[in-house]
Subunit: 355 residues, 2 copies
């Protein structure tokens, strides 16, 4: 009865295929550690839901998500299912906006035994985090962009103090907890303050919050230079925090450095709610073939357990998240090779190895 | 008397140190091939000009640039020299806007013998081009962003048909001339049409122009996925064309794949004018030490010769550009190692090797 209530939104395509293994692994971890349990409550949402019902994120699903302790999301989107205005369906964006999930946490942590992406051996064990602001920035314009007379189109980037202050505090707190585990203890504000007033404002608020978090080193970098550093010396990063659109780009680049989207977990965290989902999409090209890599989904589940445990002061849940991560590391350490990196391990094989 | 008239803006910091070698190499190439000559006309502009005179790009320099056959730019910007609104000085942005240089051409071509950046051997000889639209997009907001009551700030991205049509035609023409030299003949429109009306509009115009250029393969990719592909399989790219801010990020990432900014040339091309400049900045940290790598500036000069030759039907100039590029390749093939990649070859050594 004091189970954590998890709203599950498998979404479209391989979202379903990776969700089942994730739930199995999380339940096994909860049983192994004991002292807490999970109750899963599944809802349909996504592009196919839109196609079939005209609503991508039904109110019932949103309400359930809002009341839940946490939300697990698979993947959403499907070719040919788009809003009439030409943009696609993105209930995961709706969730971020509706639930105020400003801190998009996208760890870049390399698993053991992965084929090298960068030539430099220091890139074999990356461990940094991109925090993507996830409720405003350029994405504030989603659904609001205008096209005039087939001649000119506009979208507006919005940066607010209300969102930036907790965002940066979140980044400093994360750097602090990472520092306690041996990380350098640095936060880099990634912007383009040399050109845009909104991003100069972003940096200004960052500097204000940095002054309140002096145990953590505060640094600045331009987004263009950061993209270059990510291939030249990513091992120097600790916590990066950036605008929504920039974070979308840099976190995918980070997933590339990890070996692919199937290895990249994420969390979108607000003051009251949080969504945990892999960075990959619904992958129509491999849907239904048993080839989907559930690693990112499982690691997102581990992030969920740790977040739940920390938030509710339940050390068991934190420990359960830890053993899931260790199980994934051990599986890769023992030679697991999903299709995504040219191996032959499908969804089932990856799940079995982690279990 | 029918010399090509080149306006030279060395700018700040190492801008001066790389410009002198570039001019020497271009003059040597013109002498070697014969049949054309270059007349250089230098003007001060940049952050230090702003500090000393209150004007970053003096009208006399802009007028000279407008009348010239082409413009060579070194690098601009200097720490602590900023506009009062907090954004920095960017006369190179003024030039793009004032002269309508919509096509920012940023080749990603790996030189021989460079230390590997990506582990995959196919990345040793990259040869693709990022075309960054350079007069609008998010940068349309430069100097126009607003901050309200220290509470909220906004910048607006603008996409116009007027700019996009010639931009995409430029991209298809470039892919066509590359195809004649063995490239795949493909243009990829890089956008975020799934979220933003302005970028859905961008894609729509791309598709219209693609329908008029059916000898070239037209493809779409999202900007976040493209960042990932750039580290996972960049050898598959031919010509990419994208919005200004996206192009800023992706082209720096491309420079990273080449080994660093000191190897990355660029051209900003409009209907009447063009600026050729290295992608690197003014590098205050190494200024005055003879360590600056003039390679990107020299390769930008080679792009200038080729553009001048093609535009004016002067085959000699195209050939001269070609021999500059070959000389750079030969120098690296013979083992040149600038400081930037951990070698000991300074500005003079690089210049001598290319000469
Ligand atoms: C599907 C898309 C709208 C989404 C985004 O841009 O946020 C995705 O790329 C992501 O990173 O979660
Ligand atoms: C200096 C800066 C304003 C400029 C830009 O963003 O365009 C630079 O990064 C570039 O790529 O030329």
């Amino acid at each position: 009865n004091d189970a954590f209530r998890i709203t599950v939104l498998p979404g479209d395509g391989i979202g379903h295929e990776v969700m089942a293994p994730c739930i199995a692994v999380l339940e096994a971890a909860a049983r192994r550690i004991g002292g807490f349990s999970l109750r899963f409550d599944e809802h349909q949402a996504g592009a196919l839901a839109y196609r079939d019902t005209g609503v991508a994120l039904p109110k019932s699903a949103l309400d359930a998500a809002r009341r839940a302790d946490a939300i697990l999301l698979g993947a959403m989107g499907w070719p040919e299912v788009r809003y009439p205005d030409g943009t696609e369906i993105g209930p995961q964006l709706d969730l971020r906006f509706e639930l105020g999930l400003y801190a998009g946490v996208r760890p870049v942590r390399t698993l053991p035994n992965m084929p090298a992406v960068l030539a430099d051996p220091r890139a074999r064990q990356l461990d940094f985090v991109v925090i993507r602001e996830s409720t405003e920035g350029l994405f504030a314009s989603r659904g609001k962009g205008v096209v005039e007379e087939d001649r000119e189109a506009r979208d507006t980037m919005v940066i607010t103090r209300k969102v930036c202050e907790p965002l940066f505090d979140f980044a400093f707190a994360l750097a602090r907890s990472r520092k306690a585990r041996g990380a350098p203890g640095a936060v880099t504000c990634v912007d383009k303050a040399n050109v845009f007033a909104s991003l100069a404002f972003f940096r200004k608020i960052f500097d204000e919050r940095a002054a309140l978090n002096t145990d953590i080193r505060a640094e600045h970098a331009y987004v263009d230079a950061t993209a270059l550093y990510m291939v030249r010396r990513p091992w120097e990063f600790d916590v990066l925090v950036t605008e929504n659109m920039f974070g979308d780009i840099l976190s995918d680049l980070g997933a590339g450095l990890m070996g692919g989207m199937g290895f990249a977990p994420s969390a979108d965290i607000g003051d009251e709610n949080a969504v945990f989902q892999p960075c990959h999409g619904s992958a129509p090209d491999i849907f239904g073939q048993g080839k989907a890599n559930p690693t990112a989904m499982i690691l997102s589940g581990a992030m969920m357990l740790e977040w739940l445990g920390e938030r509710h002061g339940r050390e068991e849940a934190v420990r359960a998240g830890g053993i899931v991560r260790e199980a994934v590391d051990a599986a890769y350490g023992a030679g697991l090779k999903p299709y995504e990196i040219g191996g032959g391990d499908g969804t089932g094989a990856v799940t079995d190895a982690v279990m």
